[in-house]
Amino acid sequence: MKKQAAAASGKARSLGADAWYRFKKNRLAVISLIFLCLMIVIAFSTFIIDWATDSSFYDAKVIAQDLRRRLEPPSWEHPFGLDEFGRDMLLRIIWGARYSLFMGMAAVFGATLLGGFLGAISGYYKTADGIIMRVMDILLAVPTILLATAIVAAFGTSKVNLIMAILISQTPTFARVVRASVLTVKEQEYIEAAKAMGASDMHIIIKYIIPNSLSPLIVQCTMSVASAILSIASLSFIGLGIQAPMPEWGAMLSNARTYIRDSWHITVIPGAAIMVTILMLNIIGDGLRDALDPRLKN
């Protein structure tokens, strides 16, 4: 496959560079990627602002209430309007991005490591396969949101518990993805060659199997961050995630429900923030899949 693509473009390229070349041609995906990176930078800068001002900016602008100006619709001064306690919605959305983005990424990162490890082992060793995959099947039979809800309901609504809950519910998906690609990679001739040369199992897994099963994993990661963000927002919406007054998008929507008769913007804006974030991740995920899937190479 690699050879074909290189021959088609007339010059040798690594698989990664080759995929990047194809990804770049997908304009929508590139725009989404740039936008997402921008969002991550902005969300990260809120930590710096909090650190530099010792949270006084956060307390004064994002948390402090001004009831005289509650539910003020969008204006030049406040482009996203003011919420039910007279707080600037734009700032709350920006400060809320860090929950969705970083907590979602943390959960997916953990799930990738754990699920990837379990999947690699059960794909490579037949004896472990049965037990691990049965446990994963059981976890898969419980819908993500329910599993996360049960964990949060039992252990309380802290940020760590929320991340753990989503991490555990995402793990089986990763285990399956990695197992499936390990099973195909395992049969390849270069693995046999490595074995013939006396390579240890660990060496084969780390050096050959993991790099060669990376592409489905990368795509799954992108998609999973999107669903993790959705889970965080959903759990916060039903009151089991991040709690008010913290500016989490789902929690903001949950509060907005009470004022749905009085004002539309406090409902529309946090949801739109969630949607745009997930949409970008989905577009990037689709783009990556097309770029990494060797079957789509021309």
Binding site: I238, G271, I278
Partner: protein
């Protein structure tokens, strides 16, 4: 075939045991005492101790779990901690509402999703295809509780066409109250059905037998339905069945947004009050409906695809010859 179904149903048992044990353990680990919920804050220490003994809460986790399963095998799902009513009755009285909502959402999703998917595959890169693709991507990315809120703002509060909450009693108001929640749940599923149909039809479109069918002079509509769609149906069935299974378990968020009296909202209330028997009952309903839908999808495959059907019939033969024979058999029937 029947043997296969029975085998699959038997395989449900370990999954159910696993799921119930997992959730039971998590709930038992909670640093929290259900007796205070039942008796309220003013109860005496003695009454609380008696209640604990009555509910068997003083037993170790494993004993309690085995007792629970034992009662379950006798058809007893236990009583809700909060209402002291049998969980099975409460869930069964709400289940029809969830089935109704789930079916309406599925109808919307399939009736719109499959034709749209076929159209955008057949006219790939046309305006329609681009609009459908972008629209589908947006719908998949939308949190459906937010879509529900938007629909409420537009159709219930601004235009005042439809009710925003609850479930109507008489047929007309029932249909009216069904519209918004069904659209809310149906949109996301429609989008995934459409995306799946599109990619699946695009794949079958390039097969040789489609050119053969066309060159034989079969009408294009017949080629589309009999040759393309039928061959593209397997992944569409999979995704529809999975989504329907999810819906049948109740959707906590949408049912909450619309105050729909279904099992999803029941479960959410149970989770919020940490009502273990009620949560367990809902979890069992969820996993059973999900697994049964999965099984139904696998059975449907056989009806759609004769190649898969023949696998069931020749399974015994293949088993003796091991897997290479099975592959060979598959190709031969194909």
């Amino acid at each position: 075939m029947i043997k296969y179904i029975v085998k699959r149903l038997l395989l449900l048992i370990p999954v159910l045991i696993g799921v119930t044990f997992f959730v039971f353990t998590i709930l038992s680990l909670a640093p929290y005492d259900p007796v205070t919920v039942i008796l309220g804050d003013g109860a005496t220490e003695e009454a609380m101790e008696n209640m604990r003994e009555e509910l068997g809460l003083n037993d170790p986790l494993l004993v309690r779990y085995v007792n629970y399963i034992w009662d379950l095998l006798h058809g007893d799902f236990g009583k809700s901690y909060k209402t002291r009513l049998p969980v099975a009755d409460q869930i069964l009285s709400r289940f029809p509402n969830t089935i109704l909502l789930a079916s309406c959402s599925m109808v919307i999703a399939i009736v719109l999703g499959i034709p749209l998917g076929i159209l955008s595959a057949k006219k790939q890169y046309s305006l329609l295809d681009n609009v459908a693709t972008v629209g589908g991507l947006i719908s998949v990315s939308m949190p459906n509780f937010w879509l529900g809120l938007l629909l409420v703002i537009l159709f219930a509060l601004k235009l005042r066409w439809l009710p925003s909450q609850g479930m109507g009693e008489d047929p007309v108001s029932l249909i009216k109250s069904l519209i918004l929640p069904s659209i809310t749940l149906g949109t996301g599923i429609m989008a995934s059905v459409m995306r799946m149909t599109r990619s699946s039809v695009l794949e079958t479109m390039r097969q040789d037998y489609i050119s053969t069918a066309r060159s034989k002079g079969i009408a294009e509509s017949r080629v589309t339905v009999r040759h393309m769609l039928k061959n593209a149906l397997i992944p569409i069935i999979t995704i529809s069945a999975l989504q329907f299974g999810h819906l049948l378990g109740g959707s906590m968020l949408t049912e909450t947004v619309f105050s729909w009296p279904g099992v999803g909202r029941y479960m959410l209330d149970a989770i919020k009050t940490k009502d273990t028997p009620a949560i367990m009952g809902s979890v069992i309903l969820m996993s059973v409906s999900f697994s049964i839908m999965n099984l139904l999808a696998d059975i449907l495959y056989a009806f759609v695809d004769p190649r898969i059907k023949s696998q069931y019939q020749t399974k015994k033969k293949n088993k003796q010859k091991k897997s290479p024979a099975e592959d060979g058999g598959k190709e031969a029937t194909a």
